[in-house]
Amino acid sequence: MSVLREMLENLFSRPFTILYPKEKVPIPVGFRGKIAIVDEKCIGCSRCARVCPAECITMIPDETEIEVKGKKIVRKKRPVVKFFRCIRCGLCEQYCPSEAIIMKCQLSESGTDKEVLVQ
C-alpha cells in the first residue's frame, strides 16, 4: 500500500530530476571543483608539486617578480597542472602557503586529452 501511496503522491508532484544544462545543480561552498592557479600569488615554492598524489603538477622555470605581503620577491618557478590528471583531492590547495593554487566552486569538465594544461 505504501508503494501505491508513494506512486500517487509522486504522480502529482514535480519530478525530482534536475534537467542539467537548463537548470543548474546547486554547488555548495567548499566544493572541490575545477583547479585553478592564481599566478600573481605563487611564490614558486614547489610544495604543491610535492604533495600531489596524482603527480600532475610540474614546476616550470619562470622568473617573475611578485609581491607577497608588501614585499617584492623574485620567484624562479611556477606550477602547471595536467588538468585531466588531477583527481581534485585538494591537497595542493591545502599545502600551498600563499593560496595560489585553488579549487574553484565550479564543476570540472571532463575530457580525453590527458595533456591539457592549466597554467
Binding site: V3, L4, M7, L8, N10, L11, S13, P15, F16, T17
Partner: protein, 325 residues
C-alpha cells in the same frame, strides 16, 4: 455491415486503421513511459520520443548473428507486426468494426498470440544462450497465462451469445458492462494482457539482470524497431479488446443523431477506456518487481486458473437462470 470500397480503404489505411493505429500506439507508449516516469518522480520522455526511437532504430545497422537464418530472422518481426495490426481491425473503435463476423474474437486472440510465438522463434533463431532461454521462457509463460486469459475473454462471448467482438460490445450497450457482470474475468483479463505484453511482473522472458534482454538480445536495427512497434500495437489492440469486451467498447447505450456525432462520442469512449486501461497497466508495471517463472507457474495455475473457473461457473449458473444469453 458493408461499406463502399473507398470508405473501407480509408478505414483500413487511415482511420481508424493503420495510420491512426500507429500514431495511437506511439502515443500510448509515450503515455505509458511518462506515467511510469512521473510515478517514479522522473521527468519521462517528450511526446515524440517513442516515434523518434523507432526512426532511429530503423536507421541503425542490422547485425546478423553468426550462423543465423536471415530470412526467418527478418520475417518473424514483420509477421508479428502484421498479426498485431490485423487484430486491431476487428476491434470496434468508432462503432462496430466493418469486418466483424461471428468468431472474430477467436481470430483476434489467435493473432495476439503470434507476437509471442515470433519472440520465441527469434530467441530460438538467435543462437544465443540468453535469447533461447528467453524464448523458452516466453512460451512457457504463454502456456501458463493463456488458458485463464482465453477463458476470461470468452466469458463475455458466452453471456452475450455471440462470438463477435462488436456484437458483444453492442450487447453491453443494451445491458451493463461485463466488468460489472464478471469482475473476476475482467481482472484476469487485465493480468493476462499484462503478461502477454511482457510487462512487470511478467517481464520474465526479457529479465534484464538475468538474461540480458532474452529474445530481444540479438535484435538490431529495423528488426528491433519492428518488434518494439509490435509490442506497442499489441498494447493498443489488447486494451481496445478488453475495453470492447468488458467496458462496452465505443458503443453507446443510446443512439445519437446525426451519426457523425455518435461516431465522435464512440471514439471518445474508445480513447477514454483504453487510456483508463493503460493507466491500470502502467500502475501494475510501476508497483511490481519481476517474479520467477516457477512462481508464475504456481500463481497462474493455482489462483488465476481457479479464479477463472469460478467465473465460468458463475456465468453458467447465471445463464441457466436465464440472465443474458
Amino acid at each position: 455491415m458493408l461499406m463502399d470500397p473507398l470508405l473501407l480503404a480509408v478505414y483500413i489505411l487511415i482511420f481508424p486503421g493503420f495510420l491512426f493505429l500507429l500514431a495511437y500506439a506511439f502515443f500510448l507508449q509515450y503515455l505509458d513511459r511518462k506515467i511510469a516516469a512521473r510515478m517514479q518522480q522522473r521527468v519521462g520522455p517528450p511526446l515524440l520520443q517513442p516515434f523518434a526511437d523507432f526512426i532511429k532504430m530503423l536507421g541503425k545497422e542490422v547485425i546478423d548473428p553468426a550462423g543465423v537464418d536471415r530470412m526467418a530472422f527478418d520475417a518473424a518481426p514483420v509477421v508479428a507486426l502484421a498479426a498485431a495490426m490485423t487484430a486491431f481491425l476487428y476491434i470496434p473503435v468508432v462503432g462496430e468494426s466493418p469486418f466483424a463476423f461471428q468468431g472474430d474474437l477467436v481470430l483476434v486472440l489467435y493473432l495476439l498470440t503470434l507476437p509471442t510465438i515470433a519472440l520465441f522463434l527469434l530467441g530460438w533463431l538467435s543462437r544465443n544462450v540468453f535469447s533461447s532461454v528467453g524464448g523458452v521462457r516466453a512460451v512457457t509463460m504463454l502456456f501458463i497465462y493463456e488458458v485463464p486469459f482465453f477463458l476470461a475473454l470468452l466469458m463475455p462471448a458466452l453471456m452475450a451469445g455471440s462470438w463477435s467482438i462488436s456484437e458483444i460490445a453492442a450487447w453491453q450497450g443494451k445491458h451493463t458492462w461485463f466488468a460489472l457482470f464478471q469482475p473476476i474475468g475482467f481482472v484476469v483479463g487485465l493480468i493476462g494482457l499484462q503478461a502477454k505484453l511482457e510487462r512487470q511482473p511478467f517481464d520474465i522472458p526479457e529479465a534484464e539482470t538475468e538474461i540480458v534482454a532474452g529474445p530481444w538480445t540479438e535484435l538490431t536495427g529495423r528488426r528491433l524497431a519492428l518488434m518494439h512497434l509490435t509490442m506497442h500495437v499489441a498494447l493498443v489492440a489488447g486494451s481496445g479488446l478488453i475495453a470492447a469486451l468488458f467496458l462496452g467498447g465505443p458503443l453507446l447505450p443510446w443512439t445519437i443523431s446525426p451519426p457523425w456525432l455518435s461516431w465522435i462520442a464512440g471514439f471518445a469512449m474508445f480513447l477514454g477506456k483504453t487510456l483508463a486501461i493503460l493507466l491500470i497497466l502502467a500502475s501494475i508495471k510501476v508497483a511490481m518487481g519481476r517474479i520467477r517463472i516457477d512462481q508464475l507457474n504456481d500463481i497462474g495455475w493455482k489462483y488465476l486458473a481457479s479464479a477463472t473457473i469460478l467465473q465460468v461457473a458463475i456465468v453458467l449458473l447465471m445463464g441457466s437462470r436465464g440472465v443474458g444469453i
